[in-house]
């Protein structure tokens, strides 16, 4: 078991993860045996985006909370603001677990959890909020939040919805440019500094430098045996969506310089709903598997090279418009091909399609994905789970299903 899995189980008993709780001295979190320094730093950024934000704000900066992946972080950085990706499951403390109960606004549980956190004042550490159109559940959340703000029932905050459309056509490309320019104008009002071309170019270069490092880490996962597990990868990817580019690059460089010991284990590729639940990945890896890749935007889908173009905005829009497809909002063929190729490139022995109860999209891919991967001798196991991760019993069943798919019922 790797250091991170130990850390993970230790985290459970360690007390509130309350990101909104300033009263806990940091020492309380330091009862654990020291894992690799980079792992400590990644975990900290992953667990405490509020602390990262506070530090940034103490230096006079402003923080933009980003809900979703389909928002050009590079543009936010170019405006001199720190974008921090918001993970609904991690915005609430252990004391108030996410129960996935009835949502009066009929939001999906992740969006409801986000709204609960916002309404409870747990997001005081962001200065502004941008919601990406990752899925129509985000659209609905935006619609609801817009109403609550108009009714004076949500804390006043600077809000922007970034509408990125996904059809691969010229009309969509043009529309995305219009909306992205408008987004830049909004950012300028938030920061006082427009993200103009030089700053954008620098930001794109920094983003690409980070992507290069993340690609090198992905190479470790491609190796046999894998040089990096799925839990560690989620932590590093999550940290890269939290920290400023310089700190991210330091972190990733340290991880590359001091990688964990290789992880033998049956190789699993995780497809389906975006999730950042370490317990989920931890349960799979704890059962002797190693997650060598995933097709969602808390993992491998979260980074891609931004083409460097005469007008940097063009390259930026293309990266998000035409970049790696997510389950929601993209086409069946495009998505199944992407997942199939990724899984094969990572040498997966089995693909696990994990769908949350509320997620309308990935399950439509199943027959196509199953048939494609069958042609390469790779079985696909599917599971539906409550958000954010499922109970220990269903996670144990999951591991059992993987083993059955690989070795047959008696394996």
């Amino acid at each position: 078991m790797s250091a991170s899995t130990d850390l993970l189980s230790a985290l459970r008993v360690e007390g509130p993860l309350a990101t909104n709780d300033n009263s806990l001295p940091e020492e309380e979190f330091r009862l654990l045996p020291g894992p690799a320094d980079w792992l400590d730093r990644a975990t900290h950024a992953y667990r405490h985006p509020d602390a990262v934000a506070r530090e940034w704000r103490e230096g006079g900066g402003r923080v933009v909370g980003v809900l979703g992946h389909d928002v050009p972080r590079e543009l936010v950085l170019a405006a001199g603001l720190l974008p921090i990706r918001l993970a609904p499951a991690r915005l609430l403390s252990n004391d108030a677990p996410v129960v996935g109960g009835d949502s009066p606004l009929q939001l999906t549980p992740d969006c409801q959890a986000f709204l609960d956190a916002l309404l409870a004042g747990a997001l005081g550490w962001i200065d502004a909020l941008v919601i990406g159109r990752d899925s129509e559940s985000h659209t609905k959340l935006f619609y609801g939040l817009r109403e609550l703000l108009a009714m004076g029932e949500a804390p006043r905050l600077d809000l922007c919805f970034y509408d990125l459309v996904r059809l691969p056509t010229e009309a969509s490309a043009r529309y995305n440019r219009v909306r992205t320019r408008q987004f830049a104008e909004v950012l300028a009002t938030w920061s006082g500094a427009a993200p103009w071309q030089d700053a954008m170019r620098a930001s794109v270069a920094a983003s690409n430098a980070t992507t290069t490092l993340l690609e090198e880490l992905a190479d470790l996962r491609r190796a046999r045996p894998a040089g990096l597990g799925g839990v560690d990868a989620l932590l590093l990817d999550g940290a890269a969506m939290t920290l400023a580019p310089g700190a991210t690059q330091d972190l990733l460089t340290a991880a590359l310089a001091d990688p964990p010991p290789p992880r033998p284990g049956r190789r699993v590729f995780v497809s389906g709903s975006p999730h950042d639940d370490l317990a989920l990945a931890g349960a799979i890896e704890g059962a002797g598997y190693v997650i060598v890749g995933e097709d969602h935007d808390w993992g491998d889908r979260s980074f891609a090279v931004v083409p460097e173009t005469a007008d940097p905005l063009d390259g930026l829009v293309d990266r998000y418009h035409l970049g790696p497809p997510g389950a929601a909002r993209t086409g069946l063929d495009e998505r199944a091909r992407y997942t199939c190729h990724q899984a094969l490139a990572r040498g997966a022995e089995v693909v696990l399609q994990l769908c949350f109860d509320h997620d309308e999209s990935p399950e439509w891919e199943f027959p196509d994905l199953r048939d494609r991967l069958a042609a390469h001798g790779v079985p696909v196991v599917r599971a539906r789970l409550p958000w954010p991760g499922g109970d220990p019993g269903s996670l144990a069943r999951l591991a059992q299903d993987l083993s059955t798919a690989l070795d047959g019922p008696d394996g």
Binding site: P104, L105, Q106, R133, S135, E136, S137, T139, K140, F142, Y143, G144, R146, E147, L149, A150, L159, C160, F161, Y162, D163, V165, R166, L167, T169, E170, A171, S172, R174, Y175, V178, R179, Q182, A327, A328, R329, T330, G331, L332, D333, R335, D359, E360, S361, E363, W364, E365, F366, P367, D368, R370
Partner: protein, 429 residues
């Protein structure tokens, strides 16, 4: 659980029977044409039908076909067929039944003689599953799939009285970004349809289609206004659901326009003769949500015993308010874009749906609202703040695993007797 319905539907208007009969004949004709090699499109309800009408490409609306399947009590088998093929059976159900039926491959039980195999599929990208569902459909039929991009209005402050503004002032009301995108999409669609069918697009014919569609909507508006203002109500929502919905899928044709006019004439004649579907009307109800197609008779069981009659559904409401767009000298294609950019937002986006529901409830002198399977949080708040009680039910119309007539009926009776009637009596006293 019994899938059937304990209620037989009693027809209220002669026109409804004619509409259904026409639809059957029309579908049989389309089957012949398609057998003879003509193109045939399966379209989502919110796809730009007018383009297909202008090309004379026959089309069937996927959600209408789902309603036919559901009314024939055939939804469970179709959902099972989806599951057997590895697709989900509890997602996008209202759009997916037709694919289920195709996979079921059981012509003996198909309603209305069956649907021809499509050569074209099209839907806007308004939900997370729809694009994949249609792509799967295209794989199983060989039909070409044309997705239409759907953009979201990110403005923080929207005009709320869209039903007043959109008919003439659609460009100010919607803003240019999404109109540009949709107009581009429509131009692209026209190019692709011309190339793949070998037909030509006539601007003159298109302008005529647009004019007919507006006339059609004007008649619907008059019918809606007449029903709203007449107590006791001449015709129930159970009747207008069908009478408004099927002609809607012939929008832009003379038959569509003329049928909407005859629908109006018949309702007006009933009003003039003081004929009501529920002469002892004491309670006027609004049905918020998709219709219970497998159980249209259900709606009328409260009339005799409780004097409670459903006077409103979105089918006539949307037909009256959501389609009118006048070019007023502007580009007809952009005018059509203005019809489709906000399509569905009238009933799904709370900044628009909630004030509209309240406006319609007040216009129809409604005493209580039954909301079924809707995202109704903001509508409920607004309606209740205006003193109109709301019963909210979580279920899916075409999935009988989520509701049954007996319990739903009991729930409604309790709601009517305990919340709606006392209020109605107070107001009328």
């Amino acid at each position: 659980m019994a899938e059937g319905s304990a209620f037989t539907r009693r027809s209220e208007l002669a026109i409804t029977g004619e509409i259904v009969a026409h639809q059957r004949e029309w579908l049989a004709e389309v089957r012949d044409q398609v057998a003879g090699g003509e193109p045939f499109a399966l379209l989502s309800a919110d796809a730009p039908h007018e383009i297909y009408r202008a090309f004379d490409i026959p089309y069937v609306v996927v959600q209408w076909w789902s309603s036919v399947i559901a009314a024939r009590q055939r939804a469970p088998q179709c959902l099972a067929a989806l599951r057997a093929a590895g697709y989900p059976d509890d997602r996008e159900q209202y759009s997916a039944l037709g694919l289920g039926e195709l996979l079921l491959d059981d012509p003996s039980g198909t309603p209305w003689g069956g649907l021809p195999v499509p050569t074209i599929l099209s839907a806007p990208t308004t939900s997370d599953g729809i694009r994949k569902l249609f792509e799967a459909w295209s794989t199983h039929t060989g039909a070409a799939f044309y997705p239409i991009e759907h953009a979201v209005d990110p403005r923080l402050d929207l005009p709320r009285d869209w039903w007043e503004r959109l008919p003439h002032h659609w460009d100010e009301c919607l803003g240019p970004e999404r109109l540009d995108l949709m107009a581009d999409e429509l131009r692209g669609l026209i190019g692709v349809l011309a190339a793949t069918t070998g037909r030509s697009f006539s601007e003159a014919r298109f302008a005529e289609v647009m004019a007919l569609a507006n006339e059609h909507a004007e008649w619907n508006r008059k019918t809606r206004d007449l029903i709203a203002a007449t107590v006791p109500v001449p015709v129930s929502a159970a009747e207008t659901m069908t009478a408004a919905m099927i002609p809607q899928w012939h929008r832009g044709s003379e038959w569509g326009r003329d049928t909407a006019r005859r629908f109006y004439d018949e309702v007006a004649a009933r009003r003039d003769a003081s004929q009501s579907v529920c002469p002892s009307e004491r309670v006027r109800l609004m049905w918020l949500g998709r219709a219970l197609w497998s159980s249209l008779g259900f709606y009328r069981q409260f009339e005799e015993a409780h004097g409670a009659v459903f006077v409103w559904s979105m089918y006539l409401g949307v037909a009256a308010d959501a389609y009118l767009r006048y070019p007023d000298g502007r580009d007809p294609l952009r005018t059509l874009a203005a019809r489709f950019v906000p399509m569905g937002e009238e009933i799904r986006m709370p900044s628009w749906s909630a004030p509209w529901h309240l406006k319609e409830a007040q216009l129809h002198q409604v005493d209580g609202v039954v909301s079924f399977g809707e995202d109704d949080y903001f509508s409920t708040r607004l309606l209740e703040a205006a003193g109109i009680p709301v019963l909210s039910v979580r279920a899916t119309n075409v999935d009988r695993r989520t509701w049954d007539e007996a319990s739903l009926g009991a729930l409604l009776v309790e709601f009517i007797e305990e919340q709606v009637r006392p209020r109605a009596e107070r107001l009328r006293a």
